[in-house]
Symmetry: C2
């Protein structure tokens, strides 16, 4: 099904001009007669000509394509509404700037390395946006070595990476503060996962708030998420049978909040009157849950647009620099955390 293409030469021949003239018409070059311009345009339409982007890229050394790498997108954790939103943000900004997106969702570390190399050295991509959830992302290290323009979505402690993220420390702090102000003294944090920067930052913010308000830190109230199979339901159930039962629970994601609430009600307790609950991400469903869930809007779309913007700056800049940017998040208080 390889269709023969109509090239600039076909146009040139039929228009009885040279290929360069046609090229100039395409580029809308100023010094070209109106007559030939029109003629060429007509013939281009006639023959249904479209410039070959590949050939153009080769000579221009610019593909107008950026890569987006999402390690483990096929995994459960990415079956999340925030993800398309993020992609939408990247995409809309990219479109506006005339860029296209080469998407790569790999699962193994080996595949990742391979993809990064192709993207970085293959000349097909001018820069890369990497969605990195893990604290020590192997792909990040791979990219740093290459000296290739890239931006990470997700905070990194490596000084050599450009990144965009929410301020997850603040998110954790604000949620804890909200609970404290509601009078809670035993506040649990559900879903801490040491390997992931996001949850680490959030739990640290939570801890700081407790300290600032003079509350004790009880390790038992911080529930770790150790396995992929862990979920809010099971972890919450485990938490409910411990010695210290919290009156407030912060979960690392709305989905976990939903699950935790189910565990609580299954045990005959009520939300928020017996135990208050909050999530993070403000998924569309949060406000329609029963009860509606207190959450934090992270503005994934902006995360995406900002990441693209940053990448473009890096690509176009002559001087090297390391940039980071926080996208503001917004605490949205709903019934699940406010006693009625």
């Amino acid at each position: 099904m390889k269709t023969l293409r109509v090239t600039i030469n076909d146009i040139a021949k039929k228009a009885k001009v040279s290929a360069s003239t046609v090229s100039r018409v395409i580029a809308d070059h100023p010094r070209i007669s109106v007559a030939t311009k029109e003629k060429v345009h007509r013939i281009m339409k006639e023959l249904n000509y479209h410039p070959n982007i590949i050939a153009r890229s080769l000579v221009n050394r610019s593909t107008k394509i950026i890569g987006v790498i999402v390690p483990g997108m096929a995994e459960q954790s990415f079956q999340h509404p925030f993800f398309p939103e993020l992609l939408g943000g990247i995409g809309s900004m990219a479109y506006e700037m005339g860029y296209k997106i080469l998407l790569s969702n790999v699962s193994t570390v080996e595949e990742e390395k391979q993809t990064v190399k192709e993207f970085a050295f293959g000349g097909i991509t001018e820069g890369v946006i990497l969605v990195a959830s893990r604290a020590q992302d192997p792909t990040v290290n791979e990219l740093i070595k290459t000296d290739f323009p890239f931006v990470v979505i997700g905070r990194s402690e490596n000084p050599y990476v450009n990144w965009v993220d929410n301020d997850n420390f603040v998110i954790g702090y604000q949620l804890a503060e909200h609970f404290i102000k509601q009078g809670h003294r035993k506040i649990a944090f559900l879903g801490f996962s040491p390997g992931y920067m996001v949850t680490t930052d959030r739990v640290n913010g939570y801890k700081k708030a407790l300290q600032d308000y003079g509350l004790p830190l009880e390790d038992e109230l911080i529930v770790e998420n150790k396995f992929d199979s862990d979920n809010g339901y099971d972890l919450m159930k485990r938490l409910l049978v411990r010695e210290i039962v919290p009156t407030g629970v912060i979960t690392c994601d709305d989905l976990w909040a939903f699950e935790a609430i189910k565990a609580i009600t299954d045990r005959g307790l009520r939300v928020p009157n017996d135990i208050a609950v909050a999530g993070i991400n403000d998924v569309p469903l949060a406000k329609f849950y029963n009860p509606p869930i207190t959450s934090v809007k992270i503005n994934a779309f902006s995360l995406g647009t900002k990441a693209f913007e940053m990448l473009q700056t890096i690509i176009n800049s002559e001087i090297k620099s390391y940039n980071r940017s926080f996208i503001p998040a917004e605490l949205i208080i709903r019934d699940s955390s406010v006693k009625s």
Copy 2:
């Protein structure tokens, strides 16, 4: 930040061979001496050489890239966990076959046409997968004209398109049948939207089941989703104050089911004992909702892999053909539709 690239000629020079020899080494050509092969390989590593994919594509007339077009991905309707799953399916298959994915999420019809043209004629893409939700998708018509390989995810009535989908008629039928067998006589269908094939098929399946079991079709029980701002909560609320109040409700999506349930309980009724509810798509949360939601697993991942598979067949085949394929869905019965 345009970095100077190391080319095949640099390798050739340093290895004191010709460029073609280097090319042959890269291609693992059989007739090439082990000595030079090793030498070239060593130097390639030394200089960190990576073949330029653009140049290679130009001569090969094959980019190993397919396009994925998602009209309106930035919209609310795509903030859905099924979407990354679909993308994951396409991507994993693509990776396996050595293909990359050029993703395009456009919002306006004009942008769509533009993108399709670039993808189809620009030579950068060998085929396109289009996620089409609307019954009369303008992009589909655009693509048909071009005679360019493409596969649509979502059934189309146009005889000239290749598509992959669930059998939504069967999905609607099975859900209705399930309710009927539970003894329901007034079964509502929430979220019918005439412009969208999916919901049309589902509602038709639902109607057929009612007929087959000798139940009357009440137009009032089919609630149309007219505006983007419509949601399960409001529509359900409206349904509850009509003359005929259903005892069972089929919603077109789990998220709608969640919202509908909230409307029901907000009104002091219970699910499933007063009104039974079911959704479609089996989002991760469905089984953790309170009550757990009866739903239909649509296997979005398989939808994606199958679409890629079909596209590749089309690209490689000499003969023209029109193919369609159904991915089986699976009814999952949970508490929300079974009286306790």
